[in-house]
Structure formats: structure tokens, C-alpha cells
């Protein structure tokens, strides 16, 4: 996808959000959440195909300005909720506030630690949290197996990243298939809260699995070292 296509897509998305907010529902701005969360991620993971290294640097700097504008908009929405509508801001607005921060923190950490190490940290932390909550609620119950399983799959990922990553992705799919329908039936009207709660476990597992498998796929595409034989003989 070229840079021009990406720019047009983003502008159309924002314009559609503004039009929907003005003409249909004042809460339609929540459509900005995926843009704010996925925009920086796509920029890092799959940069526009036609960008060279200088343009990527400029694009990265431009993303800081985009973040500043996003937060100015968020502050306006918070002020509107507090002082204009005289009620607490909805949970979606808090989500819009924290989503770019979480994504950017994760990207920075991944760049510092490396994708594989970051995936291992994510897997171990998620497994430890699930295990701790399970133990606190029902010590040594079958629920504890889930946390132990996540820790085990992540441990496998240290030595065999594809196996561990694949098992974590399967675990994410299983958790999603099991939790999402339950969560969606028990949201009491708050579909966004229900969706967030039910995705809270599968999402980190999926990211950890992809983080373990991704680097191995990239390494497989790197051409073989043409000088390796020379180095062996000298």
C-alpha cells in the first residue's frame, strides 16, 4: 500500500467520523479509537511500500504531531463532557485516551527489547496474572491450568518460538471462542465494556504468539550469507 493511499484512507476515516458525529450520533467519535491505536502500529509493522528511509523518518516525526492533535481533541472532548454536558466522560473516551499511549509504549518497548523478548515478557506477565487471580479465587482448581498453560507455552517459546507462538495463538483463539460470546451476553447494555473485558485475555496471548512467530518468519526471508563458507575456511 502506498503512502498516498494510506493518507487518503486516514483522511476519509476521520472525515466519515466527523460527519457521523455531527449528523448521526455524538458518540460516533469512538470510531477514532482503532485509528489512534492501529495507526502507529501499522506505521511500525507495515510501513507504506513506497517510502524510503528519509520519508519513514519524516512519517515517524509526523506521527508525533498527529498524537499531539489527537490529544488536543481528547482534551476538548473531556472538557465538553465535564463542563458542557456535566457528566463523567464515557469509558470509550478513556479508552481513546489510553489506547495510543499503550500502543506507543508497547512499540517503544519492543524496539528496545526486540519483538521476541517483548513477546516472551507479555506471555509470562499474562500467564502470571491469570495464575495469580485463579489461585486467589480457587486455589489449585482447574482454572489454574489456564495460567500454568500460558506460562508453559511461553516457556516453550524460549527454545522453540514457532511452537510456543503457535500454541499461544491457539490458546488466544480458544479463549476468544469461549469468552467473547459469554461476555457479549452479560454486558447489561455496555457492549463496549463487554467487548473489552472479553478481549482482555485473548489479545495479549495473540500478540505474544505473533511476536514469537513473526521474527522467525522474517529471519527465514533473509538471504543466506554468501561469505559464510569463506569464514569457515579462514
Amino acid at each position: 500500500m502506498t503512502r498516498r493511499t494510506l493518507i487518503v484512507a486516514r483522511v476519509l476515516w476521520v472525515a466519515a467520523t466527523v460527519l457521523l458525529t455531527v449528523g448521526w450520533n455524538e458518540n460516533a467519535w469512538i470510531l477514532l479509537i482503532p485509528l489512534a491505536a492501529l495507526g502507529p502500529l501499522l506505521r511500525e509493522v507495515a510501513p507504506a511500500a513506497d517510502l524510503d528511509e528519509r520519508q519513514r523518518l519524516l512519517d515517524y516525526r509526523a506521527s508525533h504531531w498527529a498524537l499531539i492533535v489527537t490529544y488536543l481533541l481528547i482534551f476538548v472532548l473531556f472538557a465538553h463532557a465535564w463542563y458542557g454536558l456535566r457528566h463523567e466522560p464515557p469509558v470509550e473516551l478513556w479508552l481513546l485516551l489510553i489506547a495510543p499511549l499503550i500502543v506507543r509504549t508497547a512499540i517503544s518497548a519492543a524496539q528496545g527489547y526486540g519483538t521476541r523478548k517483548m513477546a516472551l515478557i507479555l506471555g509470562f506477565v499474562t500467564g502470571a496474572i491469570v495464575l495469580a487471580f485463579s489461585m486467589a479465587e480457587h486455589p489449585f482448581s482447574p482454572e489454574c491450568l489456564l495460567g500454568a498453560g500460558i506460562l508453559g507455552f511461553t516457556s516453550l517459546g524460549i527454545r522453540w518460538p514457532r511452537v510456543g507462538g503457535g500454541l499461544l495463538i491457539l490458546a488466544a483463539a480458544a479463549c476468544g471462542a469461549f469468552l467473547v460470546p459469554i461476555g457479549m451476553r452479560n454486558t447489561h447494555g455496555g457492549w463496549m465494556q463487554g467487548l473489552l473485558l472479553t478481549l482482555a485475555l485473548p489479545t495479549p496471548l495473540l500478540l505474544a504468539g505473533l511476536g514469537l512467530i513473526g521474527p522467525t518468519l522474517r529471519a527465514a526471508r533473509v538471504p543466506p550469507d554468501e561469505f559464510v563458507d569463506l569464514r569457515k575456511t579462514t
Binding site: 524510503d52 528511509e53 528519509r54 520519508q55
Partner: protein, 70 residues
């Protein structure tokens, strides 16, 4: 320490190669060649090597690190 470059000089030494032609050969945009020539952007090692190879010179001939005068 500032880095000066002689991309423009060697480009003309190579039959007055245009910026667009050089950009196509090394796989970047023409604006990036303009930025490098003006000294507004220091290229990566990879791009510096590709520029040097395309212009038929060494990287050291193309990019010069100006030593700070005491």
C-alpha cells in the same frame, strides 16, 4: 561533527546524471537525493553504500567527516 558530501559533484562527473535518475538507481525518492545533497539528511550506511556503488566511488570519497578544529 558535520558530514559534507560530494554527491552533486560525482553525479555531474557521471555524465551529468539527473537527481531523478540517481534516485531510481539507488531506490529512493528524488526528494531524498535533494536532501542528501543539501546536507539536510545524513543517509544510512546502506544508502551511503548504494550511492557510492552507483556513482562508482568509495563512501569515504562521497562523504567526508569534517574534523572539529581545536
Amino acid at each position: 561533527m558535520p558530514v559534507t558530501n560530494r554527491v552533486r559533484y560525482f553525479r555531474f562527473m557521471r555524465g551529468e546524471m539527473s537527481q531523478a535518475a540517481l534516485a531510481d538507481l539507488v531506490g529512493v525518492s528524488r526528494q531524498t537525493i535533494v536532501a542528501v545533497e543539501k546536507g539536510n539528511y545524513n543517509p544510512s550506511v546502506e544508502l551511503a553504500l548504494r550511492l557510492a556503488r552507483t556513482l562508482g566511488v568509495t563512501v569515504e570519497a562521497l562523504f567526508v567527516l569534517e574534523e572539529e578544529t581545536p
